[in-house]
């Protein structure tokens, strides 16, 4: 079932366009990861999905019904969706008082409230802190308490803004396991933002990528700031982070001159070879830093001056067998390079 549907949704702050989504559908009962660099509009999108902000323009529906912007309608929707902040803030009261808040304003009786509070604390492993002052908890415990505070309300949708960004490795694992358990046991739709592509791959069944307020088909990795300039034969050349020049097959628009842009290089369209041809104009060389199995592919991170991810299918990997520390050459397919800013 489609839970959210956003069509031509934009959000502006004064004159600044921070979100511009052509179409987005979010399916219920699944875990969705929202990837993107800082300033991509992830938090703004979460606020809109949490009904804490309204879009400047566009249409939005929730559970198949158009979202109305009246106070009463938004309050009704907000009571089905809870957003957990990246740095959650606790009310100046006890752990129990924090979890109780949402239940109290829903008019739940004290006995039932206490039962729900105990269950929520049990789920996040903080039962022993029930009567502690919330401000005295550590960062990881605070993040778990924020999750408990949200879970106590049994929301249809749980939105988490970088839930593991500011906690240690142990708490990261605890929080990731919690999110999976909540989704599996209660069917809660979860959408979380992250910078960590691996975490997204490990946790989420769906991945969305935001780049400069727009949803992109690309995966957030292999996206670089670059300078593009006219090369020979009407082709563009591209320098990543002013360090590494890569050939690209993009055709030169009329009147195009040198400019700063962003470029995406599809990891599955890069060919890796152990035979290094330093004279070749069609590739670059680099050192293998990391090898990792990922489903049917092998993820290879190569340092070519910038870190570049190459996705090899298992057959190619068996053929080349690159080793960590080894120098390899990378060749780019004709359609591997995409300019994210269209040259004007």
């Amino acid at each position: 079932m489609i839970l959210y549907c956003l069509e031509r949704v934009t959000r502006r702050y004064n004159d600044r366009l921070v979100l511009d989504i052509d179409r987005l559908e979010i399916e219920s009962g699944r875990i969705h990861a929202l990837l993107g660099p800082n300033g991509a509009g992830k938090t703004t999108l979460l606020n809109i999905l949490g009904f804490l902000e309204t879009p400047t323009t566009g249409r939005m529906s929730f559970c198949g019904k158009p979202v109305e912007t009246s106070r009463a309608a938004l309050l009704h929707l907000r009571r089905q969706v809870v957003l957990v902040d990246q740095h959650p803030i606790m009310f100046t009261t006890t752990v129990c008082g924090n979890i109780e808040f949402g239940l109290k304003i829903r008019g739940m009786e004290r006995k039932a409230r206490m039962r729900v509070v105990d269950e929520a604390l049990e789920t996040v492993g903080l039962r022993q802190f029930k009567h502690a002052r919330a401000h005295e908890l550590s960062g990881g415990e605070t993040q778990r308490l924020a999750l408990a505070r949200a879970l106590a309300l049994a929301p249809s949708v749980l939105l988490c803004d970088e839930p593991t960004a500011s906690v240690d490795a142990e708490n990261q694992a605890v929080i990731a396991a919690l999110l999976q358990a909540i989704n599996a046991s209660k069917g809660t739709t979860i959408l979380f933002t992250t910078h960590d592509r691996l975490q997204a791959a490990a946790l989420a069944q769906e991945t969305l990528v935001l780049e400069k307020g727009r949803l992109t088909a690309t995966t957030y990795e292999n996206s670089y700031a670059c300078t593009v300039f006219p090369g020979q034969n009407g082709r563009l050349r591209c320098t990543l982070h002013d360090q590494v020049e890569i050939p690209c097959e993009l055709t030169l628009p009329a009147g195009f001159s040198e400019r700063n842009s962003r470029v995406y290089i599809a990891p599955e369209k890069i060919t890796l070879s152990r035979s290094v041809d330093r004279q070749s104009n069609h590739g670059v060389t680099g050192t293998v830093l990391l090898l990792m199995a990922e489903g049917e592919h092998i993820r290879v991170v190569v340092n070519i001056g910038v870190l570049m991810v190459v996705l090899l299918d298992r057959a190619s990997y068996r053929h080349e067998r690159p080793a960590i520390g080894e120098t390899v050459s990378l060749q780019f397919a004709a359609d591997a390079v995409t300019l994210l800013d269209r040259p004007s």
């Binding site: 309050l75 809870v82 009310f91 100046t92 808040f101 304003i105 309300l153």
Partner: protein, 231 residues
């Protein structure tokens, strides 16, 4: 020096003996100041909250005006209220002049800008995430406002305590609108001024001691409440 010491010892004895005249003066002072502060708080705290959270044209001007009013001399307020409540004023028929009600009105006007300005400052300092958290947990506008008020409660309490300190220690309004009538509108400050004029320091010093003890007591109470809340 010995004169001061003698006055001080005699004042302590007077205060300790619970002199009826002294008690009446303290009672009038406390009732007028408490009522003026309470009424002002009822108006100023919601006003301060609305100004802090509201987005309206001229907000900066309103805040600047309030800050300017903080420096308003008590005699100016006394004069201003006198014009309205004197026999020839538009509220003359209400016979308010030289009553405790007149003093309460004057002191109310004195501390409304103070509590409002300090409430604005207290609410502005409350982290914006409290508001967002309350809303995402399902709070309506009223419940969200209560959360923000609750988180800013120490700043607001400090505003009310400052206002009480301002009214209990002021003299201009009490003198001009109360008239320093014994047993009726005589407050600690007006009595102290009168005793000073008479050259009789014992009651003046005793009242000064009571005033300082009150101030100390309120601040100790405030610190206790703050301490219990874990801040």
């Amino acid at each position: 020096m010995s004169f001061f010491l003698e006055s001080f010892v005699a004042a302590c004895r007077l205060a300790w003996s619970l002199d009826p005249e002294l008690l009446t003066i303290v009672r009038v002072s406390l009732s007028v100041s408490c009522l003026a502060t309470a009424f002002a708080a009822l108006v100023s705290i919601p006003a301060g909250f609305a100004i802090a959270h509201g987005r309206f044209p001229g907000k900066r001007i309103v805040i600047t005006l309030l800050n300017t009013l903080l420096a308003l001399p008590t005699v100016v307020i006394g004069l201003f209220v006198y014009v309205f409540i004197s026999r020839r004023g538009i509220f003359g028929p209400l016979d308010l002049l030289y009553t405790q009600q007149a003093m309460i009105i004057g002191q109310f006007i004195l501390v409304v800008p103070l509590i409002t300005a300090l409430t604005i400052a207290a609410i502005s300092r409350v982290d914006e995430r409290y508001r967002k958290t309350a809303r995402t947990l399902g709070a309506n506008a009223w419940q969200t406002a209560l959360v923000v008020l609750r988180e800013g409660r120490f700043g607001i309490a400090a505003a009310v305590i400052s206002a009480f300190g301002r009214v209990i220690s002021e003299i201009g309004i009490s003198m001009m609108l109360g008239g320093n009538i014994k047993g009726f509108t005589r407050t600690m400050t007006t009595a102290m001024a009168l005793e000073y004029d008479k050259g009789s320091f014992i009651l003046a010093v005793a009242l000064g001691l009571v005033l300082m003890a009150l101030s100390l007591g309120i601040n100790v109470l405030f610190n206790l409440i703050q301490g219990r809340s874990g801040r």
